[in-house]
Symmetry: C2
Subunit: 121 residues, 2 copies
């Protein structure tokens, strides 16, 4: 799991970590604040935090003995960019496919049907 994208997706593959991210949109929080709702040890939450941190989804500052956790938007952008790149290409291809199928149907009425919403460009 060497690359950034893998680390990011993997980090968000855990419901607890996604919940932590969700709650961090309300503002920076300390480890103990973050840990409070969950029924696990502080160390476990600390590990989750480290996963989010090495994925670049989160940063931590120093402030006396507290280490507030701060959400970082950049890697999220990286992920959406990746997803949307392929999602869009897929959609585009299917629209082309629909066109091809429509043409085939014109030529050959016995062509096997496929349920798809219309794309009639």
């Amino acid at each position: 799991m060497t690359d950034a994208l893998s680390r990011a997706f993997s980090a968000l593959a855990d419901p607890t970590r996604r919940d932590m991210v969700a709650r961090l949109t309300e503002g920076d929080q300390t480890l103990s604040e973050l840990a409070e709702p969950y029924d696990v040890s502080l160390q476990a939450v600390s590990k989750h935090l480290k996963v989010l941190e090495t994925a670049g989804l989160v940063t931590r500052s120093r402030e006396a003995q507290r280490r507030p956790v701060h959400l970082e938007a950049d890697v999220f952008d990286l992920m959406t960019k990746w997803i949307e790149r392929y999602r869009d290409r897929a959609e585009a291809r299917y629209q082309r496919l629909d066109a091809v199928l429509a043409r085939l149907e014109d030529l050959d009425p016995d062509a096997p049907h496929d349920t798809h919403e219309g794309a009639a460009s």
Copy 2:
């Protein structure tokens, strides 16, 4: 790992699987076609495929003894929706935070800063 979002993120956390998705945007492919570029056994690729399938990122049809793999866009949308929801809220909050900090500094440079609990607009 019960929920759909976890399955989806987890599925894309693997570089090989992401590559398979990328290549599927070029069109439906069979298992053996998909497996060809990778230096692993066919069974390994079959497992990867099953992960993508149970995550709903991909579907497979029957066509004689071939089982072409087909990219499905919906779950990708689900993921981007989740990500963007929190990314946007984070961005918005930081803008509010900046405003708050600026005002605090104006009023009282020694203000004991209390992390979180700002909000409420």
